[in-house]
Symmetry: C2
Subunit: 482 residues, 2 copies
């Protein structure tokens, strides 16, 4: 029943695209007069070549797609990209080991930002650029996924988002959807350019500005510096990056509205108001906490608070400060933020604001149902009743998320990590954040994790990024039946 | 709309009962020639006196009850009992502070077993007996609650349990329900007696045997020794207590079936099979873990493993070993067990096996729904389809449990606890277990927790014990409207 021709054809196309993007690093090697142009050329040639071998035989076959094909393409696409994306790291010997290279690439392409590198600043500019580009491509993939593929697959909760944009039916893709995808990609590109210019206008060099803009808009969080954004002791840079992390964690459709002056439509979006409220609330408490427990003034306290809150909540993962060195309760608040995630329709990972809001609302409604068992008490979002099946799907998603987190925590502890590190590695990767708590805090990295742990966490990044079901469904025996 | 007369009348009856039970400690003081008989007499007199003052004016008023009255009676009953239950502790000066006395009593009556005592062995026999009796009464209250009141209130998931026994309708209590309550109380009493005899036949004195039997059957976990069950270096005693913890965490209806030889009905109960599977699975892994990481032989490893697994899973909280001194991953497994809980219809707390199973099954069914979006794919339990509203209620319960745990963890960290202690205090009290992780492990206690933390944790014990909704509904503005 699987349409292997279509699947192979699309996966081939993905590899061809990946290969072409690898070649984009070649000019960078020339600009900085570095010697790894050949390695990048080879990486791209191998990737695009394999892609072409897969694509060409089926280029004229009829495009037929059903749900199951969709699951395989999405999951397979992310895995294939992460496999071939290791080539530049391996061929340039910047990450010689396959496990580490795969972890780093998967972490990039899932926009996670967890790294195994202890020596970021020693890497060539080409490699640094490729590392940032992986995240940016991952972000583009996510926009496509949310708009085009998830509604088609019926992955829960996203229906609510896709009600905002023309939704594709299982039979055919609405032509508007392709237009929307192009429009949102354009916004993605514009934001990246705008951030580059604004950072460059500050104290950041052009190369670093480009790389950080690529990884900000993807809510990825890879930096060109080992110290992450803390490297720049510049309030301007911190605030600019905070702004763009905020935009990257916002539903891109709202940015589209903003550009067309439809501000009332933005305010009407309830998820956005909650997104603001969560950021505002946590920033306020953490600012007060930092101000009262450290010697910082109010402005640095506020700046560190809002930066870290937006960075973790949007699942970007940049750092201007090490929250593990704050008063313990402030670290606990940051840890809790790891289970929020960006808005639906953004590049942010995690459970997503919308699901958290539906869960919270359903809890209070459940109390009302206890008092009035015969009344029909629905969850309302954007002033409309949310379908019961959507609520169930959201709750199923969140409980599933919890189950995976708990099982993974056990697995990571069996692989030799202490309690906090086990919890932290899982929260950081399943939520596509990057830094966690314990031994994988913002000042540390994943280099010391057991090799099996690295593979398992790579799997978690994939599962988290693709909204759990897209990946897990493939492990269900029913998927392969008949 | 609230029937205050009926509410006050029933709360009065609860206090009269509590007062009478306080007097049961007087013979104990005589047997051990201790001097606190007067204090116990006074405590009982005050409690029963206040109860009589509340009861008598309304003894002839018509009994009218609606759902809201039910919520108030249950929550109010547990709070009132915990308030007056402090009298013996305060009057005998064994726990002079009111906060500590309330924490200890609430911990007892909710069958939690978290203690603030550093000097258990210095307490008089009367006080030790009262401390155990509180838990036993709490266990009786829980049996009544699950059988009679929760189905009436429609607290989710328990419908599945009450399908096993005649269920009361909102209009009138089915006479069978009262019979069932009496039968199950009889089993509860018989098990308590049987355990007393078996422990006494071992190396335990009669007094300790009685006290531990009272607290085992309630899945309470208060011990007469600071070292808990580890005080007795006797495999026989460890296995006997394991057996009775297991029985206390089993649906009491199944024990009733067992006594009538209906073993097939026991095996047909799916929750029971999962209960066995969880205990078996965790015991196996932890036995192997202990055996390979410590110098213990296989039998002590197995004994410690099964004791701690059953103790935590059933939410009893006795200890024969300090799991925080085991290899870290073994401690993580024990921590995960804190989020399981006993069977529905047992005295165990926590989310309950049945809810965990429904959640797990719904997760796998959700994957199937992803593949076949138009098929009706239900969760099945005991070979029957579980109603969709029950599944939703179970998921709402579990997400609510998670929300409360996360918010509470933030509160406990703000009150000055580190990450593990914040997580540990919440898991231990919300789940009605007793010992947690961090600074409240099995070898420690809650004495050093901030006074506000003690009040907050007392509230959590109540919320956890009364299946969340029963308590939280009272905080909903809708509850008090019109």
């Amino acid at each position: 029943m699987l349409n292997y021709r279509t699947i192979i054809r699309i996966l081939g196309l993905i590899l061809i695209t990946a290969g072409i993007f690898m070649w984009l690093t070649i000019p960078v090697t020339f600009i900085f007069r570095e010697k790894d142009a050949l390695q990048f050329f080879l990486s791209g040639a191998i990737t695009a070549g394999v892609g072409a071998l897969a694509y060409l035989p089926f280029r004229k076959s009829r495009m037929e797609l059903n749900r199951r094909d969709g699951y395989l393409i999405v999951t397979g696409g992310w895995i294939l990209f992460s496999l071939f994306g290791t080539l530049p790291f391996i061929l340039t010997r910047s990450i010689p080991g396959f496990t580490d290279a795969f972890f780093e690439t998967m972490s990039g392409f899932t926009t996670t930002g967890a790294s195994i590198l202890n020596n970021i600043e020693e890497l060539s500019h080409g490699v640094l650029f490729w590392r940032s580009l992986i995240q940016w491509l991952g972000g583009m993939g996510i926009i496509l996924l949310t708009l085009l593929i998830l509604p088609f697959l019926g992955i829960g909760g996203m229906q609510l988002f896709s009600a905002e944009v023309p939704s594709p039916t299982p039979d055919k893709l609405h032509p508007h959807v392709k237009d929307t995808a192009k429009r949102l990609w354009l916004i993605y590109l514009l934001f990246t350019l705008a951030e580059t210019i604004m950072l460059w206008a500050g104290e950041m060099g052009l190369f670093d500005a480009v790389c950080h803009s690529l990884t900000t808009m993807a809510t990825g969080g890879y930096s060109t510096k080992q110290a992450s954004i803390a490297y720049w002791d510049s309030p301007y840079i911190h605030y600019v990056i905070t702004l763009f992390m905020f935009l990257a964690g916002t539903n891109f459709t709202l940015s589209y509205f903003a550009m067309h002056g439809k501000f009332r439509k933005i305010w009407a979006n309830e998820e956005f108001r909650w997104y603001l409220a969560f950021i505002g609330g946590f920033t306020l408490i953490i600012t007060l906490g930092l101000f009262s427990t450290s010697r910082d003034g109010l402005e640095p306290a506020f700046r560190n608070a809002i930066f870290q809150v937006v960075s973790i909540l949007t699942t970007t993962g940049y750092a201007t400060a090490d929250y593990l060195k704050w008063a313990p309760w402030l670290g606990v608040l940051i840890f809790i933020l790891m289970y929020f995630g960006g808005s639906a329709g953004s590049t942010g990972g995690g459970p997503k604001i919308m699901r958290i809001v539906i869960m919270l609302k359903n809890s209070t409604q459940e109390l009302k149902r206890m008092i009035h068992p015969n009344a029909v008490i629905l969850v309302r979002l954007n002033k409309m009743a949310v379908e019961e099946s959507v609520v169930t799907n959201v709750l199923a998603f969140i409980t599933f998320y919890g189950i995976i987190a708990v099982v993974s925590m056990a697995i990571m502890s069996i692989l030799g990590n202490d309690f906090e590190t086990s919890v932290g590695t899982v929260a950081a990767t399943l939520g596509n954040i990057g830094p966690g708590i314990g031994n994988v805090g913002p000042a540390m990295n994943f280099a010391e994790i057991h090799v099996l742990g690295k593979w398992y966490l790579s799997f978690l990044m994939l599962v988290g990024r693709l909204e759990l079901f897209t990946v897990l469904v493939i492990f269900s025996p029913m998927f392969w039946r008949r």
